[in-house]
Amino acid sequence: MDDQVRIKLENVSYTYEEAAAPALSEASAVIREGEFLAVLGHNGSGKSTLAKLLNALYIPTEGKIVVCGYDTSRDEYVWEIRRRAGMIFQNPDNQIVATVVKEDVAFGLENLGVPTDEMLPRVESSLAAVHMSKYADSAPHLLSGGQKQRVAVAGILAMEPDVLIADECTAMLDPSGRKEVLDTVRSLNRKKGITVVWITHFMEEAAQADRILVVSDGKIVSEGTPREIFSNVERMRELHLDVPRMTSLAGELRRDGMPLKEGILTVEELAEEVERLCPLKSGI
């Protein structure tokens, strides 16, 4: 097996008990080492099912998933998979177990049977990596949503994972909390080379990924860089997903005849294109 591949899905389908249609059907994908991959889709598209499959919380009804070299359907690998591919969830309140921040970060280590004297340095360095050292002795319920999610990230980080799966972990946060968590995870991706699977319905977040998988009605419907994905404004509208406002504005201007380049995502990029097409002359 290619050692660059962190996660491989081969024709994966998953049907919930007593459900008529599969929540995810015939999904195939490869996630590479060090990559920041966004999975974009609306509620009920199957993106959360995908997340749970990657963590061996669900086992595919058909097909096969290999995470860090381990087949998720094999019972004996379950704990190794969960250690190597840690997951953070949507509701910040419902994933913190302990009554003190540092003890919550240690929860995973306790479960793995890490010796007590090794725990403290790992807990401390994980909290430092998410900039939460100051709150090590705080009670979690007094933290903001963004801070709680960073504690959750630290809890995963302490287990020294290869992959971080974020299952809509910003959906319940305000804009500053969202930015705080995304920035933290992005810096872990860049500095520590942790592979990230970022599941979201916010296109602003997906736009910052290396690559996007778009999920709709239980299928992976497209795949590509943010520029490739968002350029197809019509397609995204059909899927009830947002496109960056500057991308859709640029699209409309192109339709009006203005020869803007494809793949504009940000305010800066559109401003530059306007400058190129309408050079300032003295007098305007």
Partner: protein
């Protein structure tokens, strides 16, 4: 607001008693209870009272706070006192009229039984006031640890306690929100008779239960995903170590028991 309710009755100050190992405190509390049952004279009770008073001083807990713990028990106390007073057989009659007959033996027993109850409560209050709920659940888990061999769920019990403690503030917060939301829809939680008030709780309790179950499901999944698989093979982040102070406290309680026994023999 509901969130202002204090957690348990832990009195968070720093003191030598607060710093004692929770396991030792649990064991010593049991020893103290035994001592209370061994007492047979008023001198013994004075000794016990002195011990409780000094411990409370050392723990920097206002004595009033300690006494407050007895309040909920006052009905039982009065009942114990009266039953013993009226129905203990004895010879030295103090008061007698109509069908009531109070003897010295009965009075003695009534006073002693009531005192026994009071000291039981004071002793356990001293434990809960000086030990945080988390430390308490740690202590219980470790003390009951040996019982795991006979499949006693000591770890599960402690885990349940920890999770309950973690979620109490969250659920209180949520109760407050749901209550306000229903009040905005015209719900009335305050007026009416008992039945209509009980009925008015439905719009509060149903959402609260639904949410508690949803939280439980999500938490279970999050715990599993962090490799939680019960107590076996698990290590601990917080370790408890018995220190000199613990053995000193142990010695003091041993002395107390010794004196109580001596008092029983000599007086």
């Amino acid at each position: 607001m509901l969130t202002n309710i204090t957690m348990g009755q832990y009195y968070p100050v720093d003191s030598p008693i607060h710093r004692l190992d929770p396991r030792m405190k649990l064991v010593l509390t049991i020893a103290f209870i035994v001592a209370v049952f061994l007492v047979h004279t008023i001198w013994g009770y004075l000794l016990i009272l002195g011990f409780v008073y000094l411990s409370a001083r050392l723990a920097r807990i206002p004595f009033k706070m300690l006494i407050k713990g007895i309040k909920p028990l006052r009905m039982i106390l009065i009942l114990t006192f009266l039953l013993n007073l009226f129905f203990t057989p004895g010879d030295t009659v103090l008061v007698e009229f109509w069908i009531i007959r109070i003897t010295l033996e009965a009075l003695r027993q009534a006073v002693f039984y009531s005192l026994r109850l009071v000291f039981l409560v004071l002793g356990t209050s001293l434990l809960t006031l000086t030990t945080s709920p988390v430390a308490l659940s740690d202590g219980i888990e470790l003390l009951l640890g040996p019982l795991k061999k006979i499949h006693f769920p000591a770890h599960e019990l402690a885990m349940m306690m920890t999770i309950a403690l973690r979620f109490i503030p969250t659920l209180l917060d949520e109760t407050d929100k749901i209550m306000k939301a229903q009040m905005a829809r015209g719900a009335d939680f305050e007026s009416g008779n008992l039945i209509s008030r009980a009925k008015s709780m439905v719009p509060l309790l149903v959402p609260l239960f639904v949410s508690a179950f949803r939280r439980a499901g999500e938490l279970a999944m999050a715990m599993e995903s962090r490799c939680y698989h019960g107590g076996s093979g698990r290590t601990r982040f917080r370790v408890l170590k018995l220190k000199k102070a613990d053995w000193l406290a142990c010695g003091v309680v041993a002395l107390l028991i010794g004196l109580v026994v001596l008092e029983g023999i000599l007086l």
